[in-house]
């Protein structure tokens, strides 16, 4: 059975806007993004491009991030790679309580 844990990872107010940060939770590398609207998203910090690479350093526009190494456009909401490229990045549930950002893994 899978256990679900909620991990506190950052202070909401300290998160930079439109600049991803890299978070390591045990073996999971996670990229956390706070976008202009104030929403926070968490994705696996790995480009779905077959050659890999990180996502946390990508350029953020609206609710999308561009893979910094291969320029694929990826939805922060569902991890879906935008056409004409294809693929999907794992996303994590994020919640904010009392200025604390939690990720469910």
């Amino acid at each position: 059975m899978k256990t679900v844990s909620k991990v506190g990872v950052a202070h909401y107010s300290a998160l930079p806007i439109r600049s991803g940060i890299a978070i390591q939770i045990k073996n999971d590398a996670i990229a956390l993004f706070k976008v202009t609207s104030g929403e926070v998203f968490a994705l696996e910090d790995r480009s779905p491009h077959p050659k890999g690479g990180v996502l946390s350093e990508g350029l953020v526009s609206g609710k999308f991030v561009y893979c910094p190494v291969y320029d694929w456009k990826i939805s922060l909401e569902d991890g879906q790679v935008q056409a004409p490229d294809q693929g999907q990045v794992k996303t994590y549930e994020v919640s904010v309580e009392n200025d604390k950002v939690y990720i469910t893994i």
Binding site: V9, R18, I21, I23, L59
Partner: protein, 806 residues
């Protein structure tokens, strides 16, 4: 008069193509019946690889849907195999005991996977890779099994392996030979391929011969000749195919490896034809669609009584359809005594190209890592073009001009975009179907042109050719990106006119389609604003990773650190610091770069700031759209030929212009005599010392599009060199398109025009002033990061979070 009855056995790619061709010429000629063993209408078998790799679905690969058969009044029996042909009474019999009589009969039965005859092949868990059913079997296995073994390291095997890997299985490929795809690749290319696939997670068992399949009812593993074993829950046989010829041979139609046909696809029995993989023509049974489609044309013409050239055999090229791998091969692979090879092996970028030439004609080519030239090479191969007048460079480099006139005659299945595997047919179809009018729209729909971009001129020609008069050259006005219809010049004019001062404002006022832009326009706008306003406050979030981080990202997410070494001159102290840092941080690679300095590679992002601090050297900006290096030769200070102080001037130039934002990267070189040891002829600005003066060359390029610099001026003093360089640089900054190197820019504007501007005293003075004003705004970025905790925190930390369950 009743129509003649045409029956076809097999409802696959080659056969149905032949029927299409027949209908195209004479739709009323035959009363057509098709039997297909599979329960589907005709689909694109080639795309099974992409279905398995998860990129498309079965519905997407249907070539002729049910309606097509209806519309063309074709009787179709699917899921029904023909089991007997009675050539005497001209009747076929199906496994449902249906009998249909014919006047003309086509065998289009394709082939079957070859199943290696070893002990245990009758167990469950073994499949070929041939049809939708096989695909579904594999997808199903992947749901609850772990280990897949693919026997056969050829095209099909590797595509199957990649598919299974994408489905989440652990995959091993067993191959009998010492290198993969030995029929298409030489040892070097095969090794590069293997490494790439290994990186993608596929395991290889080379030079292994399977002797037994283990397990009770179901497979559990394999045993090899050398006694070793490996585990397997699923085994895919991909060692080759065998033409489906039994039905014909049982009917006493002559067969050999396949059903024997002549140059018109006729068997030896009157009124009976064979086409596709089941047919053997001049000793060859083809296994790729290109030749089969040629056969289809000839057969169709023959059957409707139109005169046709005979089919005389084909040469075809092969690609591997695995994401992230560019590979192409055609013709001969290994040379013999009479062949001469042109070989290019760029290990740094993982590119390998080999072209085999015999008697001044290309007889084969293997391309790995970059396949843009495949179309040209393939044409040279098939048309037996005489290459004695070409330089080897133009064989490997697409020589724009020659290429261009040919779009009209290019067949639909010719590859246009080697990087993304898009054919002319696909592009033309997309243009028609989706009313496309620009190269970037074509890219959006088909992927063509989105990688290396070499094929863009050809796509543009196809657009022009396809749209004819309705092609509007003006529509080709390059918009900055898909977020706007405005071109670079329009955007820059609007910014100046309306006094827009930041990116957000530009996007709002100019009606950007995406509120926050994209990875193309954001860096470009950031540059244009910085070019217009000398005191512009840079927007770091709109820079792409390298410039945002002031370090070049590597493929594994680490970074490189390349400090300044002005003019390529260093000191014992600096070398010591570099050595100390490399030791302390266990730097995986210390390398002399092509720009005369030292690079540290493979550095973790959280180590960047401490390394910079310990080095205490300024950033070399090896990552930026800015001045990179000024290469120098030793010159007058030591060299017996030197006429000028090249190192001195080089260092001065580098110190003056470092950090300046430019449309694209900018490189300089200073040599102290015409021997030109600093390669000034291929620099954006290259300076060559002569007796009593300096020559200034511009717009040289040593990169993608090799170009020798043009002599701009010969001047007397180094002050003049600095003035001319400043004015030239600033004019480039003010008129260049973002990401346009000086080589392209000078060609666009014309050298004479640029000279005219520089010779206008007032204009020139203005340029120099604006440049100097802009240079004032820069700070050393590494120092800034070390000293500013906010920056350090925001860009250079990795957060560790502890796992606490709530």
């Amino acid at each position: 008069m009743a129509k003649e009855k045409l029956v076809m056995i097999g409802n696959g790619m080659a056969g149905v193509r032949a029927i299409e061709e027949i209908i195209k010429i004479d739709p009323n000629r035959y009363d057509i019946t098709i039997f297909g063993k599979e329960p589907h209408p005709n689909y694109n078998r080639i795309q099974l690889s992409t279905v398995l790799q998860g990129d498309t679905t079965v519905e997407d690969i249907i070539l002729n849907d049910w309606k097509w058969y209806e519309d063309n009044r074709i009787k179709l029996f699917t899921g029904e195999a023909i089991v007997e042909v009675d050539t005497k009474n001209k009747i076929v019999v199906s496994n449902n005991a249906r009998q249909v009589s014919y006047d003309k009969l086509i065998f289009a039965t394709g082939s079957s996977p070859f199943i290696v005859p070893v002990e245990g092949v009758d167990k469950q868990g073994i499949t070929g890779f041939r049809d939708i059913n096989d695909c579904e079997t594999m997808i199903k296995y992947a749901e609850d099994h772990q280990n897949a073994v693919v026997i056969g390291g050829g095209l099909l095997g590797l595509e199957a392996a990649k598919g299974l890997k994408n489905l989440g299985m652990k995959v091993s490929v067993v191959h009998l030979m010492s290198h993969l795809m030995e029929r298409q690749l030489d040892a070097t290319a095969a090794e590069m391929l293997k490494q790439e696939l290994q990186q993608q997670g596929i395991n290889f068992l080379m030079e292994k011969q399977t002797v037994e399949i283990l397990g009770d009812d179901h497979v559990t593993g394999l045993r090899f000749k050398d006694g070793s074993e490996t585990e397997a829950d699923l085994i895919v046989m991909a060692v080759g195919i065998v033409p489906n010829k039994e039905l014909a041979s049982n009917a006493s139609i002559p067969v050999n490896r396949g059903i024997v046909v002549n140059d018109y696809m006729e068997t030896e029995i009157e009124g009976i034809y064979a086409i596709g993989e089941c047919a053997e023509h001049r000793g060859i049974a083809y296994g790729l669609v290109a030749p089969l489609y040629e056969q289809a044309k000839v057969l169709a013409k023959r059957m409707v009584g139109v005169e046709t050239e005979p089919y005389e055999g084909s040469i075809s090229g092969t690609q591997l359809k695995v994401a992230g791998i560019d590979l192409y091969s055609a013709g001969e692979i290994e040379g013999d005594g009479a062949t001469k090879a042109i070989r290019v092996h760029n290990e740094f970028e993982n590119v390998y190209k080999k072209v085999l030439i015999r008697d001044n004609k290309v007889v084969g080519s293997v391309l790995y890592g970059e396949t843009a030239e495949s179309t040209r090479l393939f044409r040279m191969l098939t048309q037996q073009e005489d290459v004695s007048q070409m330089t080897s460079l133009s064989i490997l480099q697409p020589a724009g001009e020659a290429e261009e006139s040919d779009v009209a005659s290019m067949p639909d299945d010719e590859l246009v975009c080697g990087c993304n595997g898009v054919t002319k047919g696909t592009i033309v179809e997309a243009i028609h179907a989706q009313n496309l009018t620009t190269v970037s729209e074509v890219g959006g729909c088909t992927n063509a042109g989105r990688s290396c971009g070499r094929c863009k001129p050809m796509i543009s020609q196809i657009l022009e050719h396809t749209l004819g008069d309705s092609f509007d050259g003006a529509a080709q006005k390059e918009a900055v990106c898909g977020c706007t219809t405005l071109s670079r010049d329009e955007v820059v004019a609007e910014i100046k006119e309306k006094g827009l001062t930041n990116i957000r404002e530009v996007m709002n006022v100019l009606g950007w389609k995406n509120e926050e832009g994209c990875s193309k326009c954001r860096p470009a706008l950031n540059y244009y604003l910085g070019m217009i306003y000398a005191d512009y406050k840079d927007e770091r979030e709109s820079r792409l990773v390298n410039e945002k981080m002031h370090a070049n990202i590597q493929k594994d997410g680490t970074y490189s650190v390349i400090p300044r070494m002005y003019g390529g001159v260093t000191s014992a102290e600096d070398l010591k610091k570099l050595a100390d840092v490399a030791t302390k941080y266990n730097v995986p690679l210390v390398k002399l770069t092509g720009g005369q300095r030292i690079g540290l590679y493979g550095i973790k992002k959280e180590d960047l700031t401490s390394i910079w601090e310990e080095l205490d050297m300024p950033s070399g900006y090896a990552y930026g759209k800015t001045l990179r290096t000024v290469k120098t030769c030793v010159g007058q200070r030591f060299c017996r030929y030197g006429t000028q102080d090249s190192m001195g001037l080089g260092m001065e130039l580098e110190k003056k212009f470092e950090r300046l934002d430019t449309p694209h990267k900018f490189k300089m070189g200073v040599s102290a005599c015409p021997r030109n040891c600093a390669e000034s002829g291929i620099k954006d600005i290259g300076i060559v010392g002569i007796d009593g003066g300096w020559e200034i060359y511009v717009a040289g390029n040593g990169g993608t599009d090799l170009r020798a610099g043009d002599l701009l001026y010969t001047v007397k003093t180094k002050e003049e060199v600095i003035e001319v360089s400043s004015a030239f640089l600033q004019y480039y900054r003010e008129t260049g398109n973002y990401l346009e190197r000086t080589s392209k820019w000078v060609e666009r504007l014309g050298l004479d025009h640029i000279k005219k501007v520089l010779e206008d005293k007032v204009a020139c003075q203005g340029l120099i002033e604006r440049l100097n004003k802009t240079l004032e705004r820069y700070n050393e970025p590494w120092k800034e990061a070390i000293e500013n905790d906010e920056i350090k925190d925001k860009y250079y930390s990795r957060y560790q979070a502890d796992l606490v369950t709530n």
